[in-house]
């Protein structure tokens, strides 16, 4: 899913970091958002809803809709679309997955 070469935009030089999502380890790049890093790793489901237990992912992409909220290092309801990854960041989806872990 990563765009390595772009006809107009310069390539980005970024350091690799490691994050975990629901206990599994993934590679990400410093400076990118949690939502982008997970999508680059083919992950679209970021949480399950409270009532219907329905999966939700990125919707507005700019922090307005709060659909992408995840738990980051024990802090709940962090917006994955506007929060940057950090090395060793521990991310957990909210909803049924979080209850299981």
């Amino acid at each position: 899913m990563r765009i390595k070469k772009h006809p107009i935009l310069e390539s980005l030089e970024r350091k690799e970091v490691q994050i975990t999502y629901n206990g599994k380890s993934y590679l990400a790049f410093e400076g990118e958002t949690i939502a982008a890093a997970l999508l680059a790793n083919q992950i679209r489901i970021l949480r399950y809803t409270e009532k219907g237990k329905a999966p939700r992912g990125i919707y507005c992409g700019i922090g307005h809709c709060y659909e992408c909220r995840v738990t980051v290092d024990d802090e709940r309801s962090v917006r994955a679309c506007i929060t940057r990854v950090k090395d060793q960041m521990k991310i957990i989806s909210q909803g049924i997955d979080a209850d299981e872990i």
Binding site: C65, Y66, R69, S77
Partner: protein, 89 residues
């Protein structure tokens, strides 16, 4: 079909509330919880205005003596209680 993504409110819930007499955005919100979730209506508020339009004589202009209230963003009680302290402290 879902209209309010946060509170998982369906279009038919909203239509039912209007048919049961909800005439204003506020009434729909109170009855269905649409627009009362974490995004505070940023995604569905406009949709609620559109949903109610065919059922009312009240124009969007008039529904607009809008009633946004602070806090307009979610804030934890702990941080709310800290408010009023100056950032330099």
């Amino acid at each position: 079909m879902i209209i309010c993504r946060c509170e998982e409110v369906l279009l038919r819930d909203i239509i039912t509330s209007i048919e049961n007499g909800a005439e204003t955005l506020k009434a729909i919100k109170m009855e269905t919880r649409a627009g009362m979730g974490i995004c505070q209506g940023r995604t569905c508020r406009v949709l609620l205005e559109q949903a109610i339009a065919p059922y009312t004589d009240i124009t969007i202009q008039e529904t607009n003596n809008i009633m946004y209230k602070n806090p307009v963003r979610p804030i934890s009680l702990a941080n709310l209680s800290r408010s009023g302290k100056d950032s330099s402290q």
